[in-house]
Amino acid sequence: MGVLLFKCFQHATVQCSDKVPLRGKDDDSTKSKKGRKVQFNDEESPANFSSKSGEKGAPLKGGKGSARKEPAKYELNVQSELPQNSQCVMDCEAADILQGIQEQMVFLSRDPTIKIPVSFDKGLLYAKTGGRYSNPKTVRQALEGLKKYGVSDAEICVIANSCPENAEEAFALVPSLKAKKNKIHEPLEEIISQLVASKLPTENHEE
């Protein structure tokens, strides 16, 4: 009798923890994982005003284990989020522009009420460390050639900013390119090998 009662009790607790999937860490690992995932996606949804909502549920219901490994979920979707009349700029181009503005700032800053905001300095520093190519114009020209294969501006920028060593790396970093892999693999490989040659020597990488 006592055993039966204990079993009943056990059953009840399990049921209880089922209802609260976030707490149920040790009852069913897949369930708790699912709970966590949903919560995480909810958290990011306010900023994600693109039309991705339909996609959100799909990978969760599929294989939970594979969902994490599959990068397709985090695909670059700049085009839909980017406001109109805007144009992506590569880090190396931005570094040039900001550097130019900083030089002008010296004149402007005679007016003591204007002070250079923190985000400007941080942005410039970021652009400088990110922009590893010696000549932004040649980089732009080289990558512009990919446009005829349907590669978007944003994808081009991400490729330029991450300075991949070969096409495989570019495909891994920008998974949306994989759809056009057959068409662009060769030209991309060629362009990247060109770009690698024009890279600035960085001390960090030599060490």
Binding site: E44, P71, K73, E81, S86, T113, I116, G123
Partner: protein, 177 residues
């Protein structure tokens, strides 16, 4: 990533500034008001590149202030989901680590750090692989992928991952010494 954008703003100017230097005053006020601000839609306004157009002013009833619609071109920085960023680690704890990519803060949770990296709570807390070959600590440079963004009135906060191919530490300050 950085991008160029043309934005519009209504600038209010006091009548005492009216004169031959009116335009200069508008520009300097615009810079003061806009540079360094952050909006969810556009990101951080890093710098104003130039004024495209200044519209006709309109006198406000009661105050005498005049409103000018100003179109300006600026450079903004905004992280996107799926983008690859290079960030500098600013803080490491057992929950994960914080890193900075330009003006943007990124948090990488320990679930999104490769499983073979373990948290070590030494003098400088760090994540290290079992064979000690790779170490993430303060000032390390990492390449990460943005998987989510949250926008505040004054800052953008991102969640990133380094648990993917070709992501992770680029340079380690400890390795040089």
């Amino acid at each position: 990533m950085f991008f160029h954008i043309i934005l519009e703003r209504n600038m209010q100017l006091h009548p005492r500034h009216f004169g031959p230097r009116l335009r200069d005053k508008l520009v300097s006020k615009l810079m003061k008001d806009v540079e360094g601000t952050c909006s969810g839609r556009h990101g951080f306004v890093v710098a104003i590149m130039g004024i495209e157009h200044v519209g006709k002013g309109l006198i406000r009833d009661g105050t005498g202030f005049v409103t000018f619609p100003v179109k300006y071109k600026c450079v903004v920085f905004r992280p996107f989901k799926g983008e690859i960023l290079e960030a500098v680690v600013t803080m490491v704890n057992k929950m994960g680590f914080f890193a900075e990519a330009g003006p943007v803060q990124v948090f990488v949770s320990n679930h999104l750090i490769p499983d073979d990296m373990e948290f070590q709570s030494a003098d400088t807390p760090n994540y290290t692989t079992s064979d000690n070959s790779v170490k993430i600590q303060k000032d390390s440079e990492v390449r990460l992928k943005i998987i989510g963004t949250r926008v505040d009135a004054t800052e953008i906060f991102c969640i990133g991952t380094i648990k993917d191919d070709f992501l992770g530490v680029i340079s380690d300050p400890g390795a040089a010494s």
